[in-house]
């Protein structure tokens, strides 16, 4: 009888040597005449344990990690292929506290199944949402998504169902679904993990969006920094087509929906929805003015549903289990779960899917295990490079769109980058402006020129030149960028800059007690 062994094929697991580990297991098993069936799964999202190897046993899946090729002979000696004890053994995977305490809805299958196996997908509840959507009228599907309370997971948090309703209500011969997979924010990797670990979930969500709005063609815009995700999606689309889940008649329902995957080209701004549309049309990724809304006039001038990977991947479970099931998670107007991503200086980095309402302290300390360096955590940047730096004094605020907005921060795409007390916040503020210089599309002046001036002013502050006046100038410049930019690139770059200045004035050479 063969032993089933799981070795992740996720980019991060590969970046730590998972390929060599899989090879070593295959080689060692052959030498010992043990028949193994190696499944290349997605990652469970516990990256301090990657490469995390799991062995299927009658007691469930047993976890070993982090495994390096040189550990493999010893693991076989200990009998790991029967789930035996070893210094790298963590017991049953599902009982590892980091995983056991999560609420995995969107990520229910990631790390569990073989990403490209349609049989595996179906055996784990795949396409149940699509089947239910097929039996419903388009307007009912849209209502289900609206009632679930799902809001755009890309960062802007706009209600997904309302966007879909606009597209449904706009008559057109051709409509599109455009999936934004240009996950460029530092500290975020949930889109990548899902595309690599459970690609059919995204395809299913897009097909549901197509049927609900009358769109027949979908595009996934993946960043060029994600070569593995790109290839996985291409393979998944081909298999889904062959299986009848995409194409002229989705699951035999008589209505068409197909998907093409396109590669970005290293422009952060193309994560902004209108810039992404320009790029998909083959142009420079220059932001469009709104209105018209993309839901009315989007890709190639046609009504277009634009959603982030996480929004679309949350749709299948909403349709399968009903709006109420999903809405029961979360608090206030932030319903459901968010796959938070713990990154930067933490012992236990990884993916934590939790209902809204969890605090940063719980994520950083209970899940993250504190800093990797062992030094005190000083701040965390939440929501990507355009998100605010949250000081330790605000670690207990519940992660909820409204509560974060009230303190001048944003939840965004749920990326959290932790910094220990060696961080120089003036340098980080300068970095935010410099990033905007590099990535601005150039269309509007506050962003294009404001960011250049921002770097110069911060340099003068750091050098101690006429500090009081230059700080006033920086704040005024931030105000102009915030109010005058066309999109979030220039409009939110002030968030990291001003939060750094407000909470860490001493790093800018300002007496803490004197700072306003």
């Amino acid at each position: 009888m063969s032993v089933r062994i799981y070795v992740p094929i996720d980019s991060s697991a590969l970046s730590l040597g998972a390929e060599a580990v899989a090879r070593a297991i295959r080689h060692e098993a052959a030498v010992r005449d043990i028949v193994v069936d190696i499944v290349r799964n997605g990652s469970r999202g516990m990256f301090w344990l990657e490469p995390l190897v799991e062995v299927d046993t009658p007691q469930g899946r047993i976890a070993y990690g982090p495994v390096q090729p040189e550990d493999v002979p010893g693991l076989f000696d200990a009998g790991f292929h029967q789930g035996a004890a070893h210094s790298l053994c963590h017991g049953p995977t599902e009982q590892i506290p980091f995983l056991a305490r999560q609420e995995r809805l969107t990520f229910a299958r990631v790390g569990v199944t073989d990403p490209l196996s349609l049989d595996d997908y179906l055996a784990h509840g795949g396409f149940e949402g699509l089947q239910r959507a097929i039996a419903m009228a388009p307007a009912e599907v849209v209502k289900e998504v609206t009632d679930s309370g799902l809001r755009g997971r890309g960062g802007a948090a706009f209600p997904t169902g309302i966007k879909w309703k606009t597209v449904l209500d706009t008559p057109a011969a051709q409509k599109y679904v455009a999936c934004n997979a240009d996950e460029g924010d530092s500290g975020t990797f949930s889109d990548r993990m899902l595309m690599e670990g459970d690609p059919y979930c995204l395809l299913e969500g897009m097909a549901i969006a197509g049927l609900a709005t009358g769109a027949t063609q979908g595009y996934i815009y993946v960043r060029s920094e994600y070569p593995h995700a790109f290839r996985t999606l291409q393979a998944a689309i081909e298999r889904a087509r062959a299986g009848g889940w995409l194409g002229a008649s989705v699951a035999g329902c008589g209505r068409a929906f197909d998907i093409d995957v396109r590669l970005g080209a290293g422009a952060y701004i193309c994560g902004e929805e209108t810039s992404m549309l320009e790029s998909l049309e083959g142009k420079r990724g220059v932001v469009r003015a709104k209105p018209p809304l993309p839901a009315v006039s989007g890709l190639f001038g046609k009504p277009t549903v634009i959603n982030n990977v996480m929004s679309l991947a949350s749709v299948p479970i909403i349709l399968a289990r009903g709006a109420a099931f999903y809405r029961d998670y979360g608090l206030g107007r932030s319903r459901g779960t968010l796959p938070f991503q713990l990154a930067g200086n933490l012992r236990h980095t990884g993916l934590v899917e939790k209902a809204f309402g969890v605090t940063l302290r719980e994520l950083l300390e209970d899940y993250g295990g504190g800093s990797f360096s062992g030094k005190p955590l000083r701040t965390a940047q939440v929501g990507g490079p355009l998100g605010a730096y949250v000081p330790a004094s605000q670690f207990d605020v519940a992660l909820d769109y409204e509560q974060y907005a009230a303190m001048g921060a944003m939840v965004g795409h749920g990326g959290i980058v932790a910094f220990d007390d060696t961080v120089d916040m003036a340098k980080m503020a300068r970095h935010a402006m410099a990033f905007c210089v590099e990535e601005s599309c150039g269309k509007c002046t506050p962003c294009r020129i404001g960011s250049v001036r921002g770097v110069e002013v911060i340099d003068r502050i750091i050098a101690g030149e006429d500090r009081g006046r230059n700080i006033a100038l920086l704040n005024s410049l931030c105000d102009t960028m915030l109010s005058g930019s066309l999109c979030a690139m220039g409009g939110m770059t002030p968030y990291p800059v001003q939060s750094a200045l407000k909470h860490f004035p001493e790093d800018f050479g300002i007496d803490k007690t004197a700072a306003a």
Partner: protein, 162 residues
């Protein structure tokens, strides 16, 4: 990753296979760069003609995106991540080490033509910072010692195939 030398016939075939795609510019540019390692000058008028665009429009697209190169890179491309998560884990020291070890700055190629060094903002490997990309391989939890080992291996592979 030795690439072919661009030829008019090769370029025409790559363009023809994709010109009918909606929004074909980026797919064509990717195909050309994947084949040759960069987008050669002679490709621009050909793309413009195929897509009924002006040469300036094509030039504008190529220059907008960081990914597209106008000159041949070294035989290997090394990218060092400069985004926040990697900065929180010592990316600056790693960047300094890599530059010193290779003897080049960003956007430069080593004198022997082996390695082109580029900055990158986020490889999506933030749970394993600091991160790098060497050709198509993404590497995590990097430090100077691990980079030296990767470089040594590249040099050995090159020596073996030479």
């Amino acid at each position: 990753m030795t690439k072919e030398t661009p030829s008019a016939a090769g370029l025409a075939a790559l363009i023809d296979a994709r010109r009918a795609l909606p929004g074909a510019t980026l797919p064509i540019l990717h195909a050309i760069q994947d084949a040759y390692g960069y987008v050669p000058d002679e490709a621009l008028p050909m793309i413009a003609a195929a897509l009924n665009l002006s040469r300036a429009e094509v030039q504008g697209v190529v220059s907008f995106y960081h990914h597209f190169r106008r000159t041949p890179p070294g035989r290997h491309v090394v990218q060092v991540c400069r985004a926040e998560s990697c900065l929180a884990m010592g990316a600056e020291a790693l960047e300094a080490h890599v530059k010193a070890k290779l003897g080049v700055d960003f956007h430069e190629t080593t004198a022997d033509g082996a390695v082109t060094l580029e900055p990158v903002y986020c490889l999506g490997n933030c749970a394993c910072s600091p991160a790098m990309r060497v050709d198509d391989d993404i590497l995590g939890r990097m430090n100077g010692r691990r980079f030296d080992a990767v470089l040594h291996q590249l040099q050995q592979t090159e020596g073996a195939s030479a």
